[in-house]
């Protein structure tokens, strides 16, 4: 039985197409609804090299979430678990690590190399309706979510009046995570000596969009790396380091590596840009 709601893209037949990528919405597929989008700033105070940002979410279960951090307070928002200095032995690099979500909080740690004075790391975060690990429980909405009794709700197979937000296809009080574009770009590397490389994607949206980046080494994968496997930026194993940031015009991907080897190749980065803004 085929029921529900389908919005097909131009020149595709909503009645006959079976390719989910021909549809803007197909109500049998779940989506990511943004329950909360907020901006704040992490302070690493004088004399300290680290500070932990902890945000109570009120969901009662670990939510799917993400955060991007302006590591050097210069308008460049980095993916979590990445470093502003990918080069081996970088000085005064800034980074985030130990990002986590539990039943009560989402958190991450800001890190820097020098502790001369107070330093702020602005950041943006989103809490989605879908869960991280664990099971749904408690509330279906975070602290600060204002329930509205007007608007549009679509559910599929659920009573719309008593459904949880994560059971709904659309709830017009929540932004949907909207796909904008995917761009791929290669970064050459050569581990005969320490090195770095960077590449830029121009998104040209005029605001800082939500984005994520993955990458793989393709046919030139160094020893220990699977050539076809995509991994998130920031989780590419040693001896490589990787990061990516976005500003109002572009997204930059950076890699660094340790020398002492005899291999070279291309690191293939896949940048996914969403229409949703990071900053309110």
């Amino acid at each position: 039985m085929d029921y529900g709601i389908k919005f097909a893209i131009e020149e595709k037949n909503a009645l006959t197409s079976i390719n989910p990528r021909d549809f803007l919405i197909w109500s049998k597929y779940k989506d990511f609804k943004i329950l909360k989008k907020a901006n704040s700033s992490l302070l690493i105070s004088t004399g300290n090299l680290v500070a932990t940002q902890q945000i109570a979410h009120g969901m009662g279960y670990p939510p799917a979430y993400y955060a991007w951090v302006d590591l050097q307070n210069n308008g460049k928002f980095y993916m979590l678990e990445t470093n502003s200095g990918v080069q081996v032995g970088s000085v005064n690099a800034h980074s985030t690590d130990t990002s986590a979500a539990d039943n009560t909080n989402i958190s991450f740690r800001g890190v820097r190399d020098a502790s001369v004075s107070d330093e702020y790391m602005p950041f943006a975060y989103v809490i989605f309706d879908q869960r991280g690990i664990g099971t749904f429980g408690g509330n279906d909405r975070p602290i600060g979510y204002v329930k509205q009794d007007y608007g549009i709700k679509f559910t599929q197979g659920k009573n719309v009046f008593d459904s949880k937000i994560y059971e709904q296809v659309i709830n017009s009080n929540c932004e949907l995570l909207n796909y904008h574009a995917t761009r791929t770009i290669g970064l050459s590397w050569d581990n005969s000596s320490n090195g770095t490389n960077s590449a830029t994607i121009i998104h040209g949206l005029g605001y800082v969009p939500m984005f994520l980046v993955w990458g793989n080494f393709g046919s030139s994968a160094p020893s220990g790396f699977n050539k076809d496997r995509l991994l998130p930026i920031g989780q590419i194993a040693q001896p490589f380091t990787s990061s990516a940031w976005a500003d109002t015009n572009e997204i930059q991907i950076e890699i660094g590596w340790a020398g002492g080897g005899s291999s070279s190749g291309i690191f293939n980065a896949r940048v996914v840009v969403f229409t949703n803004a990071m900053l309110i």
């Binding site: 597929y29 989506d31 879908q130 991280g132 690990i133 709830n171 949907l176 909207n178």
Partner: protein, 98 residues
């Protein structure tokens, strides 16, 4: 584009709602659809066939910090792994793959 469908968020005026913060849905944009959700619990590693003829991207979360859990994808499968027999959940995305 002055045709199609728009839903604005909350009480925002549909005619002035901007796409980056105030629109729920605009028929000029794809909603990022989740093809499938894979999970492992108290397991070291497991592969899941995703059935797509391209490499999807995946948003994944794990019980241990990201260094110890990982998620990899290729044209055939998704591998979820947790170095400490933990849990990983992975959302396979339709639109952002290639």
């Amino acid at each position: 584009m002055n045709y199609g469908i728009k839903f604005s968020k909350g009480k925002v005026d549909i005619f002035t709602a901007d796409i980056k913060n105030q629109q729920v849905f605009n028929s000029g944009n794809y909603v990022e659809k989740i093809k499938e959700i894979f999970e492992i619990a108290v397991t070291t590693s497991q592969d899941f066939g995703h059935g797509l003829n391209y490499t999807p991207v995946v948003i994944a979360y794990g019980t241990v910090n990201n260094v110890d859990t990982f998620c990899e994808t290729d044209n055939y499968e998704v591998t979820l792994a947790s170095g400490l027999n933990g849990s990983v959940i992975a959302y396979i995305l339709f639109q952002a793959g290639s």
